[in-house]
């Protein structure tokens, strides 16, 4: 997809947000951006585009996982969470930051690419090297986990689920 030329600052901020979606850790995300920026700047300089930079961030993240450099936290299994059922989380709104920590990295990634970057599930599948069905599953699991957030629950429940079988 063609992207208008972005400033270096905008590219780095976009890369950071994506890295944060992958790692859910501020400093790990910053390190990822640094590593990715070093690579793309050397090779492309100001010709670097957002898809290229995000792809490099992803590659560095996957590489870090393979080398055991990045800690991955297994999300708490659903049955381990005290399940309020359909009731709101006691004490008020659940912290979204905490809820996002309960997601797998690939679930946060799918959500981020879909919600923030505006990618379709087909585009996400191509970007992440998987199938559209897998992307839909990840989005579905992520939404189910995030239903603990009262505001999100209201909005998710009131939305028309047009994803299944249809391209958005």
């Amino acid at each position: 997809m063609d992207e208008p030329a972005e400033t270096t600052q905008a590219l780095l901020q976009a890369a950071y947000r994506y890295a944060l979606a992958l790692t859910h850790h501020h400093y790990e995300a910053e390190d990822l951006v640094q590593e990715a920026w070093l690579r793309v700047w050397r090779k492309y300089g100001e010709q670097c585009t957002r898809p290229l930079l995000l792809s490099t961030v992803r590659n560095r993240f996957v590489d870090g996982l393979r080398r055991g450099r990045l800690a991955t936290f297994e999300p708490v299994k659903d049955h381990d969470l005290s399940d309020p059922g359909d009731q709101p989380v006691p004490g008020g709104s659940a912290d979204l930051d905490v809820l996002l920590a309960y997601l797998h990295a690939e679930e946060r990634e799918a959500l981020f690419l879909h919600v923030v970057e505006g990618q379709t599930t087909a585009e996400i599948a191509v970007f992440t090297g998987t199938t559209r069905g897998t992307v839909l599953s990840r989005l579905h699991r992520a939404r189910e986990r995030l239903r603990r957030h009262p505001q999100l629950r209201r909005e998710l429940d009131s939305s028309v689920d047009g994803e299944t079988g249809k391209q958005s």
């Binding site: 780095l12 947000r17 640094q34 700047w41 050397r42 800690a71 930051d97 919600v115 999100l152 047009g162």
Partner: protein, 195 residues
């Protein structure tokens, strides 16, 4: 899925930003790493920072950068980067109590990992572990140290590449930490010690 229903998520992520200091540091590291690489040099240049400054001046004049980036002073840059890394308090990847074990656990370093032969800076400090990191864009070792008082220090060792030749040895004192910089056997040593 209607994207409008995910407003809290969008707001959460769009609210996450790198501050100006981190932005500048990330870009400056890329510029510093670029100096000293294979590039034709019609005239000898003593200080990589001068080259970077000229490049920046050209880029700013052409409107190539969206925001003003100060010409990086190599020593100040390393000092700031080390203090930032110290504050991150990242877990070591390798647990070891000597340099030989540490070197064995960090095989990708590409340079010999050894304690400095200079007396003074490392006296009284015991190795407890280490991890890979980068310093001015170069792959470096970050080594965890502790002393008899239980203080935790971080030591960085990186090859003395061209981009780091301008880093001045000495001690830079700050409110919470002192940063000791010295050279030994074609390596740059930088140690952050809490007060």
């Amino acid at each position: 899925m209607s994207r409008e229903t995910e407003q809290p998520l969008r707001a959460y992520y769009l609210g996450q930003r790198l501050d100006e200091t981190a932005l500048s540091r990330i870009h400056e590291n890329a510029l510093l790493a670029e100096t000293g690489r294979d590039r034709p040099r019609p005239r000898p240049v003593r200080k990589p920072a001068l080259v970077v400054g000229l490049v920046l001046a050209l880029l700013l004049g052409a409107g190539g950068l969206a925001w003003r980036v100060a010409v990086p002073d190599a020593t100040a840059h390393i000092d700031a980067e080390v203090r930032t890394n110290y504050a991150k308090d990242l877990e070591p990847e390798v647990r070891a109590d000597n340099f030989a074990e540490l070197a064995a656990g960090l095989p990708r370093l590409g340079f010999a990992l050894a304690p400095s032969t200079e007396e003074g800076p490392l006296t009284g400090w015991q190795v407890t572990g280490g991890r890979y990191c980068s310093l001015a864009g170069e792959l470096a070792a970050q080594i965890n140290l502790s002393d008899a008082r239980g203080r935790q220090s971080l030591l960085y060792i990186v090859p003395l590449v061209e981009a780091l030749q301008a880093v001045e040895p000495g001690v830079r004192r700050h409110a919470a930490t002192d940063v000791h910089i010295w050279r030994d056997a074609q390596r740059l040593y930088v140690q952050a010690i809490p007060k």
